[in-house]
Symmetry: C2
Subunit: 346 residues, 2 copies
DNA sequence: CTGAAAGCGCTTACAG
DNA sequence: CTGAAAGCGCTTACAG
C-alpha cells in the first residue's frame, strides 16, 4: 500500500544485516557468523540468543558478501550442448532439468541454465564460466568432440557429465546407465515372448547409447540363439522422424519382421507410425520396445513397453558427484541399472 | 598439465583484480572502475590505457564484489508454477525457456530456473527470492489464484508474466498474444474452406487461453453465419489425452462434424488420434486446426495447420519489459499478434 | 568460547 | 578528468 509511490529504479526495503542480529542478540558479529556457519565454537547460550535474534530480525544472509570472501558462489550451471531441435523435441531434457533443479534445491543451490547449442552460445557460456560465476557444471552433451568439455577441464571447473563423456572417461565425472544391459533386457523380453525376427533401430553410432545398446541387443540375440544379420539393423538420430524412416526401411526389407527394439521412446513413436501405416498392428504383428521411459512412452498408442532410465536418481547422483568434487574428491563414475517397464506395445 | 596435482577442495588460479589493472595502466582503481561502468568522465588516454591493461591482465569483473555495493545481482529467475506433468508434457515450455535464456544472455544476464510446482517448492522459491538473490522474475503460471504472484508483489520484486495474469492485470507486467484474434483466424480459415459443422476443443475455462479462444471461435462462427450450438464445444486441459477424449465425445455426438479447432497443438494431436481411430480421415473427413505452433505441430501426422504464437518475440518482450522495470518504469502489457500457419491438416 | 580487526573486490560521492 | 577514501556485508585467523 505504501509501496510503489515515487519509486525510481529498483529499490527494496533495507534488509537486516549480521550487525543487526549481533546487536539484537548482544554478541559480536563474529559469533553470529559462527552460528551461521555451523555453530561450532559457540556456547549454547550464545547459540540460542543468536537464533532468536535471527528469527526476530528476519535476517537472511547476503550471498554476495559471503561469496566475496569465501570465493565460492554456491551455484551450478546446467550446460546444455545440444542443437536447438533436440532440445525442443527430446522429452528427456525437461525430466533431467527438473531432476537436477530439485536435487540442487535440496542443497539450497540455484541452477543456472546455460544453453550452448551454437558456436556463439558456446563462446558466451565459456566466458561466463571463466568469469567465475559458478562453482561447477552439469554437462549435457551428446557430441563426441565437444569443445566445451575441454575448456571446462582447462579451467579446472568441477564438472559432471550425463552419460559417458567419450574421450574423457578418466578425467571427468559422469553418471550413466548400463546401456548394454538395458538393451539386453529389452531384446530378451522380445525373444521370450516368442518373437523370432527381432530388428533394431539404433541411435547415432558416435554416442555411447548408440553403440552400447546395439551391442546389448546383439548379445541377447546370440544368447537366445536367434539370427542377428546386419540387415536387421537400421540407424536413427533419436528424432521421431528418424525412427519412422528407419522403421520404413526395415519393413520394406523384412516382410517377416515380428519385433523391433528401438533405442529411444521418441524414435519408437515414429516406428509405430510407420508400422501402422504399413497396415500392420502393434503389438499383434510387430512388437515394439523403446528406451528411456520418457513422457513419450505414455503418449504413445499403444502405451510403450520400454527400458526405464532412472532420471530422478541420475539427477541426484550427478549433483552428489559434483558436491563431492567441491569437497576435493577425485572425479568418479556412477553406473545405474535400468528396468524393463511392461506396457502394451510388447 | 600442472593442474590437479595435490588439489584439495576447489581452488582456482588467482584472478586479476581491478587493482592489478590499475597498476598495469598506471591509474587509480577509481578510474578503472569508471571505464568498466561506461567510460564516462574518463580521458581518452586513460581509457585506452585501461582497455589495454584489461586485455593484458585478462581481467574480468567479480560480480559478487560488484553486487555487494550496487545491491543488484543482475540475474533473473524463470519461475515455473506448473504441476510436474504439464512441465514435462507441454512442448511450449522448452521453447519459452530457451527464448528467455537467449534474450537474457544478450544482456549478459543468467537465468535461474526455479520450479514451483508443489507447495513445498513454492515455499522454497519464495524464500530464495526473499533472500534477494535475484533482481526480477519471469513468471510462467496458468493458475488463476497462484499465491506466488501475491508474494512477489508484496516483496516489490519486478515481475513479468507470460500470458494475462488473471486478477493482476493492472499490477503486473505481462506479454500475451491476442488470443481471440488467433481463434478467429483459425475458425475463419475453416469456414472459408467450406466446412459447415465446425466444433471446438477448448482449454481450461479459468485461463485466458481457455476463455478468449472460445470467444474468438464464436465470433468467427457468427461472422460466417454458421451454427454455433453449445453441443459443438468440448473442454480439455491442454494435455494430449484430454484432446483425444474431448474429440471422442464430439465425434460420438456429432456424426456430421467436418472440422474442429483445438486450443492447443498437443490436444490437436490427441484429437487426430481419436478421429483416425473412429475411421475418419484428416483433413478429408475432418479438418483440424491447432494453436501454438509448438514442436508438436511438426510431429503430428498430417502436419498440423495451427495458430502461431511468436515465442521468440514473446520471450524477448518479456525480458525487455523486465529490464524496463529495473529502470523504474511502471509495469506495462504487450499484446502480440498471432499468425495462421497453413500445413496439411486443414 | 568470544571479540576486535583485517580483508574479500568492487563503486561512488567527495574534493580537487 | 582523477585519486584517496569510505563502505557494501560477510568470514576468519588472531589473541585472549
Amino acid at each position: 500500500v505504501s509501496g510503489n509511490a515515487g519509486r525510481g529504479a529498483i529499490e527494496r526495503r533495507a534488509r537486516p544485516t549480521i550487525e543487526d542480529v549481533a546487536a539484537e542478540a548482544g554478541v559480536s558479529r563474529g559469533t553470529v557468523s559462527r552460528v551461521l556457519n555451523g555453530g561450532i565454537n559457540v556456547s549454547p547460550a550464545a547459540l540460542a540468543a543468536v537464533k532468536k535474534a535471527i528469527k526476530q530480525t528476519g535476517y537472511v544472509v547476503n550471498h554476495h558478501a559471503r561469496s566475496l570472501v569465501t570465493q565460492r558462489s554456491r551455484s551450478v550451471a546446467f550446460v546444455l550442448c545440444e542443437p536447438q531441435e533436440r532440445f525442443f523435441e527430446d522429452p528427456n531434457f525437461p525430466v533431467l532439468l527438473r531432476g537436477c533443479t530439485q536435487a540442487l534445491a535440496e542443497h539450497d543451490m540455484p541452477l543456472l541454465l546455460s544453453i550452448a547449442g551454437t558456436e556463439q552460445e558456446r563462446e558466451r557460456v565459456v566466458r561466463f564460466i571463466e568469469a567465475g560465476h559458478i562453482d561447477g557444471a552439469l554437462l549435457i552433451s551428446t557430441h563426441a568432440g565437444n569443445p566445451v568439455i575441454d575448456r571446462l577441464r582447462a579451467l579446472g571447473v568441477p564438472t559432471v557429465a550425463c552419460g559417458l563423456p567419450i574421450g574423457h572417461e578418466q578425467a571427468v565425472a559422469y553418471v550413466a546407465v548400463n546401456e548394454a544391459e538395458g538393451a539386453r533386457q529389452a531384446t530378451t523380453h522380445l525373444a521370450k515372448a516368442g518373437r523370432r525376427r527381432i530388428a533394431m533401430v539404433t541411435g547415432p553410432m558416435d554416442m555411447p547409447g548408440g553403440r552400447d545398446r546395439l551391442a546389448g541387443y546383439r548379445d541377447a540375440l546370440a544368447a537366445a540363439g536367434l539370427e542377428a544379420g546386419a540387415d536387421l539393423v537400421e540407424h536413427g538420430d533419436y528424432t521421431q522422424a528418424s525412427g519412422e524412416a528407419a522403421m520404413g526401411r526395415l519393413l520394406a526389407r523384412l516382410p517377416d519382421l515380428d519385433a523391433v527394439f528401438v533405442a529411444s521412446d521418441l524414435m519408437a513413436v515414429g516406428a509405430i507410425d510407420a508400422i501402422v501405416r504399413a497396415g500392420r498392428s502393434v503389438p499383434g504383428d510387430v512388437a515394439v520396445v523403446g528406451f528411456d521411459d520418457s513422457p513419450a512412452a505414455l503418449a504413445a498408442r499403444p502405451l510403450l513397453t520400454t527400458v526405464r532410465q532412472p532420471w530422478g536418481r541420475i539427477s541426484r547422483e550427478m549433483v552428489r558427484l559434483l558436491l563431492a568434487e567441491f569437497d576435493g574428491q577425485e572425479p568418479a563414475a556412477v553406473i545405474l541399472p535400468t528396468e524393463l517397464v511392461l506396457r502394451a506395445s510388447a
